[in-house]
């Protein structure tokens, strides 16, 4: 397998001189097998550039695309209306996401392209869309990929994916808060709320399941939006730090961690420091830590 990062930023796209090297576009990762099969994880603004590449490769011919969504916050779906293969008639786009009903998912994705937000309604886009609900604990198969959804801790729910193909595996763990101070539910949090005994049990179960699913994974991509001091100020925002990601990876025996979903305010210089700091911290415990940047490609496993 090979993975390519098309957008590595969280929250919103950040153009400008401070983001030239790590990139300013939001979450989107391409996962490809040796045979050329592809799944796209998240449809943030990075998806526009990926779409332009795929449309060139398609050369006007329709194809089928599979998009796994972690959740549907704007920074994970905003690229979808700008995915140029969607405008090639005959194209089919299958969207997978965590929601109570696939029909509701259709409404949410359709909502992006409703008249108020985008010029063309979803029904008018030439590609045909189908929507699939994913459930943590229920694995599914897309072509040559075996996909394991993993529940994460984020406002209104989020799901990570372990993706196995070609005898190797990669996991996408974004967006998620750590599993101690805050349990995200279906309501707005103005700040951390006291945890009940049930909340503690739920957090422990979620964390245990994540660690179990990450066992044996070659490379883990993890939401490391915050630096430690930022996390202390905003523990209820639903994001983690590289230190928290390292603890999870160490417990799961993972040997390679990719820092991802960088905060929009982090400049290239700050990201260089983050990269150097955590390369060293990781090396000390036998974990190779890479800091993702737009355009980075990584081979996963042997093939």
């Amino acid at each position: 397998m090979q993975i390519t990062f098309w957008g590595v930023r969280g929250s919103y796209p950040v153009p400008g001189a401070a983001t030239v090297r790590y990139g300013g576009q939001t979450s989107c990762v391409e996962v490809r097998t040796a045979a050329g099969e592809c799944v796209i994880v998240d449809a943030g603004t990075g998806m526009r550039q990926l779409g332009n590449k795929l449309a060139r490769e398609a050369n006007g011919q329709p194809s089928q695309y599979h998009v796994l969504l972690s959740h549907v916050h704007w920074d994970h779906i905003q690229g979808l209306p700008f995915f140029s293969p969607a405008y090639i008639p005959g194209t089919r786009i299958s969207v997978y996401a965590l929601l109570t009903a696939a029909d509701e998912l259709n409404q949410v994705i359709g909502g992006i392209t409703r008249h108020e937000f985008f010029p063309m309604p979803l029904e008018a886009v030439p590609a045909a869309f189908d929507f699939h609900q994913v459930e943590p604990g229920v694995d599914f198969v897309v072509g040559g990929f075996h996909i394991t959804p993993i529940a994460l801790n984020h406002p209104f729910g989020s799901v990570g994916y372990r993706i196995d193909a070609d005898g190797s595996s990669v996991a996408y763990v974004a967006d998620t808060a750590p599993f101690d101070k805050v349990l995200h539910k279906q309501h707005f949090l103005a700040g951390p709320e006291p945890l009940s005994a049930d909340d503690q049990v739920a957090l422990t179960a979620m964390r245990d399941a994540l660690v179990a699913r990450l066992r044996g994974v070659d490379t883990v991509i993890y939401d490391t939006h915050f630096l430690p001091d930022e996390y202390e100020r905003f523990p209820h925002y639903g994001h983690s730090t590289p230190d928290q990601a390292l603890v999870i990876c160490q417990e799961a025996g993972v040997r390679r961690l990719v820092l991802y979903h960088h905060a929009p305010g982090h400049s290239d210089e700050q990201m260089d420091q983050v990269a150097a700091t955590y390369l060293a911290k990781g090396a000390a415990i036998g974990i190779e830590v890479l800091t993702s940047f737009e355009g980075m490609s990584l081979p996963i496993g042997a093939g």
């Binding site: 796209p13 153009p15 030239v20 990139g23 008249h115 937000f117 209104f156 707005f188 929009p264």
Partner: protein
């Protein structure tokens, strides 16, 4: 009156080396009157940079007041809203004004949808700590905005309408005509000409190169030439090309400016993120 472009890009925010001189943020423009009154037009990603600037002053202390005009609610004009930090400080008073979309939803309901729990952890306008009021107006009249005189008109944008503004203060006038496409390039609509009449600065949609425009007629945007025609007929004193295509690199925009300047006596420049400019 001064003006500062915080976002000049249309459709899609563009990061990277090719977009540094004109800037990659989507639409957001600040007007600053000599007496200190401010007015913002649109909440594209450029508004997030403007927000940082405001937070260093009275908005960081919850003592800021800001009127915001929206041309319409396509994402590139509102995507900065959930990240506009003055909304999160109690005490700030922010008034968003715009026309209701033609879908039948009100402006307020549309912005509520943007912050719906699926899309945003903010989960609704009511969770913004600042005092935020949202008021709809019917384009064609004037708006009551402290420190400025604002006239409005509806102009066609593909299958819908956007609101254009004529904004005056300190004896100077800025006309904001983005996103717009006239039924005929050579016959700009009378309401557009009226808003731009004798303006000191005309900011005009220039999304398409002349070549692209032939392929994208009816998509709701203009080539640079449309702004030239409006500026000449309305005797505007200066023309700012605006709403640059996400595919237009800095070098490509340079070429458009040179070519467009060669076709008219009206001084032309391409709007760029950066410093305050005198109107």
């Amino acid at each position: 009156m001064k003006i500062r472009f915080w976002g000049v890009r249309g459709s899609f925010a563009m990061s990277g080396r090719d977009f540094l001189r004109y800037g990659g943020n989507t639409c957001s423009v600040e007007l600053l009157a000599n007496d200190g009154h401010r007015l913002l037009v649109d909440l594209g990603t450029g508004a997030t940079e403007f927000a940082k600037h405001l937070m260093g002053a009275e908005f960081g202390k919850g003592q800021g007041k800001l009127p915001i005009l929206l041309t319409h609610t396509h994402l590139d004009h509102i995507q900065g809203l959930p990240f506009f930090t003055p909304f999160f400080i109690k005490g700030n008073e922010i008034r968003i004004m715009g026309a209701d979309p033609i879908s039948g939803l009100s402006l307020e309901a549309t912005l509520q949808n943007q912050l719906a729990p699926h899309y945003s952890p903010l989960n609704g306008l009511e969770n913004l700590a600042a005092g935020v009021t949202i008021s709809s107006f019917v384009p064609g009249g004037t708006l009551n905005v402290p420190g400025f005189t604002v006239q409005t008109a509806a102009v066609p944008h593909g299958s819908m309408w956007t609101t254009a503004f004529r904004i005056s203060a300190d004896g100077k006038t800025v006309t904001f005509l983005s996103d717009v496409e006239y039924p005929s390039l050579d016959e700009p609509l009378p309401q557009a000409l009226a808003l731009a009449q004798d303006a000191d600065l005309l900011i005009h949609d220039a999304m398409h190169s002349d070549l692209d425009y032939e392929m994208r007629r009816g998509w709701g945007h203009s080539p640079a030439r449309a702004g030239v025609i409006v500026a000449e007929r309305a005797h505007a004193k200066r023309l700012a090309l605006f709403h640059h295509s996400p595919d237009a690199t800095d070098d490509m925009i340079d070429e458009v400016v040179v070519r467009t300047s060669g076709e008219t006596n009206v001084p032309v420049f391409a709007a760029a993120e950066g410093a305050y400019l005198d109107v």
